[in-house]
């Protein structure tokens, strides 16, 4: 459509430049039609703001106890109650969102930085490198993932960066496999052959054709990987292996106070609800991104 709109005789580069924002705009238009995903996006932006401005928003210091108000049910002073040390649950939830969001987003960034080049190389070069990569994938895909995280965190010790390491060590494999498959099939397409026949250099072909065209499934995998990583962080912290005190995370709060559910339900139920709603929002966002980018990827 855009081709006919352009006056004839324009150089090809101009044409390409005119089309680039156009497609992104189309993706946005398609995304915008999905009401649930738009709602999820708004929620996530709000949550990001809350996480960034936690110091200003949180009503109390999340690490400072107040022994005159321990084990309080929700009151006007402490909207979501207080814990065993008299710390404000709402403030702890707000600070916990920092952990959840940064584990989710950072882990995916690290994963793509490792997995994308390795997968692209394996698909491009093939041969022995590809063989080795496939065997590594065999090994990693037969270890139960949670078991591996648990072992990693026992070996490395708990902590924010160790969670990221554990996730990166296993997570890059999925992306590498995805990119490898994409590169293998894209390598045989007519436009790559044409580019090669026209004398395009390998570097150019890899960057413009292979990597750029395999980005869609990667972006979708990452968008759905964020809640997956949050899920794993919450689970590990729940088991007492993830985020260590005094730092706070939702999973950790659920794990620490699950034994007190009979008397102080607010200590576990509030973080549980926040976690579930956040996961819902991210999955809805990922769904919307996938449908907007390429509806055929849907299961």
């Amino acid at each position: 459509m855009s081709i006919t709109a352009l006056p004839s005789g324009q150089p090809v580069e101009r044409l390409a430049a005119a089309r680039q924002p156009h497609t992104l705009w189309q993706v946005w238009l398609r995304f915008r039609r999905n009401k649930l995903s738009m709602f999820a996006l708004a929620f996530i932006i709000l949550q990001l703001l809350v996480a960034i401005f936690a110091e200003q928003i949180a009503p109390y210091d999340p690490y400072k106890g107040d022994f005159s108000v321990t084990w309080q049910k929700p009151t006007r002073e402490h909207l979501l109650g207080t814990d065993d040390l008299g710390r404000d649950v709402l403030s702890r939830l707000i600070y916990g969102s920092r952990i959840s969001l940064s584990v989710g987003i950072l882990s995916q960034l690290v994963i793509v930085m490792i997995g994308l080049p390795i997968g692209a190389l394996a698909g491009l070069i093939g041969g022995r490198l590809d063989y080795v990569l496939m065997r590594v994938i065999d090994v990693f895909s037969s270890i139960p993932i949670l078991l591996f995280y648990t072992l990693m965190l026992v070996a490395l010790g708990s902590g924010f960066w160790n969670i990221i390491i554990a996730m990166a060590l296993t997570g890059w494999i999925g992306i590498a496999r995805l990119v490898r498959g994409q590169v293998l099939s894209l390598k045989e397409t007519d436009y790559v052959r044409a580019a090669r026949a026209m004398g395009g250099r390998t570097r150019h072909i890899v960057v413009t054709h292979l990597v750029r065209n395999s980005l869609t499934p990667v972006i979708v995998a990452l968008a759905l990987g964020v809640p997956g990583a949050m899920f794993a962080e919450a689970g590990l912290s729940f088991l007492g292996l993830g985020i260590a005190s005094p730092q706070t995370s939702w999973g950790q709060m659920i794990g620490l106070y699950q034994g007190y559910i009979q008397t102080s339900w607010h200590l576990t139920v509030f973080p549980a609800v926040v976690l579930a709603v956040t996961l819902l929002a991210w999955f809805a966002l990922g769904d919307g991104v996938r449908d907007a980018l390429d509806p055929t990827l849907r299961l």
Binding site: R135, D138, V139, S142, I143, P144, L146, L147, T150, L151, M152, V154, A155, L156, G157, G159, W161, N162, I165, P227, F231, A234, G235, F238, L239, G240, L241, I254, Q258, I261, Q262, W265, T268, V269, A272, L275, A276, L279, L280, F283, L299
Partner: protein, 313 residues
């Protein structure tokens, strides 16, 4: 076919060796090892520590090698030694005594999620856009976003604490089974519902189904002979690994409902750094998962004549 199975089994041995080595090294990287937890906390130490770990993987000093070989020798004879935290019992004894609980929970979960997942999936595909379809979507979205441990705690809160209908934990009577099975079946129901629905929806629109209808076959026969048989084939591929996941148990569900299964023991083993139990669990689980994958592939070849593992000459 025999060659395919043999080559896969050889591959399994390789995978087990690799996994045992990784686990062994991870465990021996704890305290006294070259990377102490204190330094790891600092951000700038991490890349070097990983490098060191990888170095250790390839350039092992002798004592660790010998330890590993001894472990391998014993493991081949299914002897994993005594558990550190339960020093009166061998690891094998712990497995014998605790695993039945996990298997029972797993089978009950499988049964429940087969009924719910397949039912909702099939119903949603046959009557697309109906209330059944929306219920299916709602249930699968719920299963997707609700972590099992969160759901378990919410169940416990409402049914035990608030209403007092069900006991908070234990495994003595069917009353104790309800909440663990519900919490455990989130993942399986999600997978079964989604796969069944999408695969049924594809098959219903297939040409051979239209042909069968055009021939004047009764709707019942069309559904039973053409639709179900073909639609459930892809479900088998996800079903195999799912069963493996179920009988290896869930740390979360077992620890929240205090079910003395192997998952609960694994969590305590990790917290107590009980190396023999950790090693054994990792290896047994890995073997189990790999064997299920192999069996799944074989079953797939059996039910779908188009699949063959013999290379065309």
């Amino acid at each position: 076919m025999a060659r395919f199975i043999v080559s896969r089994l050889i591959g399994l041995v390789g995978v087990l060796l690799a996994v045992s080595l990784i686990t062994f090294l991870l465990m021996h990287a704890v305290p006294g090892g070259p990377f102490d937890a204190q330094a790891m906390q600092r951000q700038q130490m991490i890349p070097e520590a990983i490098k060191q770990q990888l170095n250790a993987k390839f350039g092992l000093d002798k004592p660790i090698w010998q330890q590993y070989l001894v472990f391998l020798g014993n493991a081949v004879r299914m002897d994993f030694g005594y558990s550190f935290s339960n020093s009166t019992r061998t690891v094998i004894q712990i497995f014998q005594e605790q695993w039945p609980y996990t298997i029972q929970l797993g089978l009950l979960t499988l049964l429940f999620s087969l009924v719910v997942g397949l039912g909702l999936g099939i119903g949603a595909a046959i009557k697309q856009g109906s209330w059944l379809d929306y219920t299916g979507t709602f249930v699968s979205v719920f299963c997707l976003v609700m972590p099992s441990f969160v759901f378990a705690i919410l169940l416990q809160f409402f049914f035990s604490v608030r209403l007092g209908w069900l006991p908070t934990g234990g495994w003595d009577s069917p009353k104790h089974w309800i909440m663990p099975v519900l919490a455990n079946s989130l993942g399986p129901i999600l997978i079964l519902q989604r796969y069944t629905r999408s695969s049924m929806a594809d098959v219903i629109r297939a040409n051979y189904v239209r042909t069968a209808r055009a021939k004047g076959m009764s709707e019942r026969r069309v559904m039973l002979i053409h639709v179900f048989k073909n639609a459930l084939t892809p479900v088998v591929t996800v079903g195999g690994p799912m069963i493996a996941g179920l009988i290896t148990g869930s740390f979360f569900v077992e620890s929240i409902f205090r079910i003395p299964g192997i998952g609960l023991y694994f969590v305590t083993a990790v917290q107590n750094r009980d190396y023999p139990l950790i090693m054994a669990t990792t290896l047994v689980w890995t073997a189990l998962i790999s064997i299920t994958y192999l069996l799944t592939d074989l079953v797939y070849a059996l039910i779908d004549p188009r699949v063959t593992y013999v290379k065309a000459s």
